[in-house]
């Protein structure tokens, strides 16, 4: 959620947290802010990050939750791949 990698230090985590809060300020996106805050609290210092690395992550309540959490990418790919389906692969 904060977009930091496993080797980030306290300062990098803090910077990523502040950047995320700027994107989802508590007054405009309270739910988003709560998630960001929770994520930050889980990785705020080295000890917490180590604990998460060794003893995490916790399982989600269900696989449906994982489905919802998967990033939903929607890339523009041009008309070609769409028309290929109608053409049945023929040019």
């Amino acid at each position: 959620m904060l977009g930091v990698d496993a080797t980030a230090d306290d300062e990098q985590v803090r910077a990523a947290y502040l950047a995320a809060v700027r994107r989802s300020p508590p007054d405009r996106d309270p739910e988003g802010f709560r998630r960001i805050r929770d994520a930050y609290e889980a990785v705020r210092d080295e000890e917490l990050r180590l604990a998460l690395r060794l003893f995490g992550p916790a399982p989600l309540a269900s696989l449906d939750a994982l489905l919802e959490a998967l990033p939903d990418e929607r890339r523009h790919v041009g008309p070609g791949p769409w028309l290929d389906i109608l053409r049945g692969g023929k040019p």
Binding site: L54, H76, L86
Partner: protein, 825 residues
Amino acid sequence: MSKRDKRGGNRPAVAVPATPEERRPRVLELISSGKTREALDLAKQGHKDAPSPQAEGLVIDAYEARIRQMLAQGLHDEAAGLAALVAERFPAQRQRIVPLAQQSKAIASGDLGAILAELPLAAPTRRREIEEVLTRELRDPRQLAETGALPLDDPLRQGGRAVSVLFAAVTSGVLPPGALAALDVIPRQSPLAPWKLLIRAIEAYYRRADGAALANLDAIPPHAAPARLAAVLRRLIGEPAPGAGRPGGDGRDRAVDQKPVSALIGAVTGGQAGLRDHLRSLIAALARRDAAAAGAVVERIVPLMPSEPLWIKPTFTATLLWQWHRLDLPPRPLIAALRRDRRSLEWQRETQRLLALMYERAGAWDEALVVWDGYVAAATRAGTLPSAGRVPARILLHMAELFPAVPEDVLDALGVDSDEEIEQLIDDGALPGCFARGRLLARALEADPDPRVFRALVAHWEARDRGQAEAHAEAWRRAHPEDLEPLLHLVRAAEARGAYRKAIEMLGRAEAIDPMHPELKQSRVRLLLTSAEGRIREGRYAQALADLDELDKAVVATSGETWVYLGALRWLATRRNGDGSGAERLLEEIASRLVNRTMLSLIVGSVAESFGLEPPEALEAASPAESAQALARAGELFRALGRPLAVPTGLLARVEHGLGGASPADLHSLCVAGLHMGRPALTYAAAGEGLASDGPLLHRFLLARGRALALAGARRDRNRAISCLRAARELAGRARDLDAVREASSALGALGPDDLTAWSSPHGDLDGTERPTPREIAAILATERARLEPPAFKAPTGGRKRRRGARRAQRDLFDDLLPFMELGH
């Protein structure tokens, strides 16, 4: 039934005209109204009844209409077959039929040039047929936009151009506002109308307005060419196709080549649509408890699981392991699926780590321990886990923390009688080395000499072998001479075994490091007090009085009610020393300073009783409030000093039934005293009185109520205890009372994992993992406030009854995974 009747099926019977003159207009009428099959039947009947060139011509007219209609319905192969049949049977009519067959082949291959060329001059009926063919067969709007068969200003060609441009734009990037208005020129009856709906659906999909996208897709006729893309778009959105699941399904969907479909979905979603589809299948398979199907889907998911973001793969695996376990599914299909992923040994080790965590959550500490041990060995061998330092020490400490808090529970679980037996089994190879908790902690300390590990190691031995604990503390002290912690332990240990000289020596060393440390001050007072009491018992009264003089100088001795205890000891020593009047004066002096006479009687009486002396006077009957205060404060004092308080039964009963006027502070002291004296009924009553009103100690009263209920015999009361303790922990957390949080957690832990996981709350839907909500806490408080009658508390037992059982083999749901995990070794 005749062959004709069979072919006729349920078609309504067509009235057969009597003469050939009447028959011809009827056939043409049926053709123009689209009833080509009936027209053909009628024409063929006429030709059979009265063969003639005119009748044959009418049959050919009907065949031609029938073939064109089949083309319009997309039945290319059927149309071509029928055309070939007619050409063979009526060779004279080949010149009319052969072009139809050719047109059929051209349309089937996507070439619409011939029918577009017909369009400008086509009669209305034929025009409708051609538009129907276009609706079905237009596979690229550029065919219309660029056709030379239609003039530039033809509305269909103009519409084709608009659709072609917008389709390219909407699939290539975000459209500018208002861009879709260009589609308004296309009427609803146009063969381009389905394309208009498709473009709107794609535009909505990219701006994540899935509802609008689906609404547009729903409006696309299922026979139109864009319907094939509609089905794909539904998959991208995650919606089943209409009719999916119906027997037979959508025949057109089956006809679609799945290779370009997969290519499009993969390209648009960055490869995640396939993953989503498989996850949905996995969820469905798990819901059906179909382990074989679920395992097969896992096999397909694992290679698709992206490495970014980092949390996805471990979260998926942790969730899957946990769900699989909760559903109690057979492990083999999952093993087989995981075994397929041989690409990364490191990931297999990660799976082993997640498996260990799954066992922990399931309360299977021993299985978790074995899997952790395997993980540490494999990861260390592979070099992904260093053999020394903070990380391995942290894991080893974690493994040590998995053991039940009560040492006897470990023995019960392993079916042995002593730690020595465990050591023996380990040495014989009958038990993995990780079951020696002391060895685990020693390894952790060796990997990283961290104070936290040291504390855990000393605490471990303190409960089992105080000599070992003292030896470890001494070793740590020598290695870290400026560290106060081992000295504090050594003072306590020496004091506990009566080695006061050694205790005082260590106390001196500790005071040299931090003379103001509160525990050291308490230790000094405790040691002097023990010394004074010992000297009284030994009859060395003058030395005892000297100790007491020194104690008086200590700051803590004058704080609280400690001075009353010291005064009582002084009275005792003086009286034993034969100075009766001096003893009387001392008692009067104490009485002049202490308003609560009941407390004086209680303290002096307890001190006298512990030395086998009669108390100076009988307890006076006091008010309920004074009795409660006396018991509260005396209880607090004796608990702090670690001395037994002898409470007369009458006073105890008076207090338990007369708590109405007690202050919240006294009520809390009574809660604590009740537990300390082994009198949970007193704690229960005092906590109930404290819970009657909201206040800063509310969480403390809830905690005391929970701890008292935990001592009750019935399972219902234990469940109440759990709710109280969980609510208390939550409230204590909010009040930042960390001692109370720890105490509640410890009490919950002592109730055991079975109670936590299999618990059905009398207060609601709490389970072992969720934090109670404010609403649930309010319900718990309401229940406890209403329950004034104490439960039946268990009589104190002489000790814990051992449950001797056969040593459990390392078996469980996932045992079969262990050989697989050896792959990572």
